[in-house]
């Protein structure tokens, strides 16, 4: 699944570790989502949407 996580994070000048801490996951998870090797669960996707104040369908795209 394609996503805009890397660009959203970069726009806020957050590191992967910063974002991981805000979401309560490991940095490896953030990296795996950004490189599209792992699709997050629905609760995590909603958390990401809330954090960036965007609906999840604008961040994630099938």
């Amino acid at each position: 699944m394609k996503n805009k996580l890397r660009e959203l994070r970069a726009a806020r000048e957050w590191s992967q570790s910063d974002l991981a801490e805000k979401l309560g996951v490991s940095r490896q998870t953030i990296n795996a989502i950004e490189t599209e090797k792992y699709d997050p669960s629905l609760p995590l996707a909603f958390k990401i949407g809330q954090l960036f104040k965007q609906p999840i369908e604008t961040i994630f795209e099938v």
Partner: protein
């Protein structure tokens, strides 16, 4: 935040693996050298490693609950790989033995110790493969 278990937590988890292994080796020695013991005592002694094994299981479940979703997936894939791999290897050895092609090393299959060690080895491989896959 790094959701991976800390070194201290991993140590507390793995110390039970060491205790289980040590208990297994001691009970193996006792059962082989004290054959005059009654079957009830022999069974009780043989099953002693189950107790630290249960502690290992409990610590493992606690660690699993602390992991984030990707870490849990990695563990799930690794355990699945280890379980299926162990079943396949055990089945192959049993088929060889059933047809008279008895391997001297495994005349009665892998037994408890061999099964445990094989599963641990395959789990280690599984964790390495899965971790690499998501890097």
């Amino acid at each position: 935040m790094d959701c991976r278990p800390t070194l201290r937590e991993q140590f507390k988890f793995n110390i039970w693996l060491a205790v289980t292994t040590a208990t297994y080796l001691v009970t193996l020695f006792l059962v082989q050298h004290f054959k005059e013991w009654s079957p009830l005592v022999q069974v009780s002694v043989t099953l002693l490693p189950v107790l630290p094994g249960l502690m290992y299981l409990g610590k493992g479940l606690r660690l699993l609950r602390q992991m984030d979703e990707l870490q849990r997936r990695i563990q799930l894939e690794a355990w699945f790989f280890a379980a299926i791999g162990t079943v396949i290897v055990s089945a192959v050895i049993n088929v060889f033995n059933a047809h008279g092609l008895v391997w001297e090393t495994f005349p009665h299959g892998l037994e408890i110790g061999g099964t445990y060690l094989l599963m641990f080895f395959l789990w280690t491989l599984g964790v390495a493969f899965s971790t690499r896959r998501y890097q």
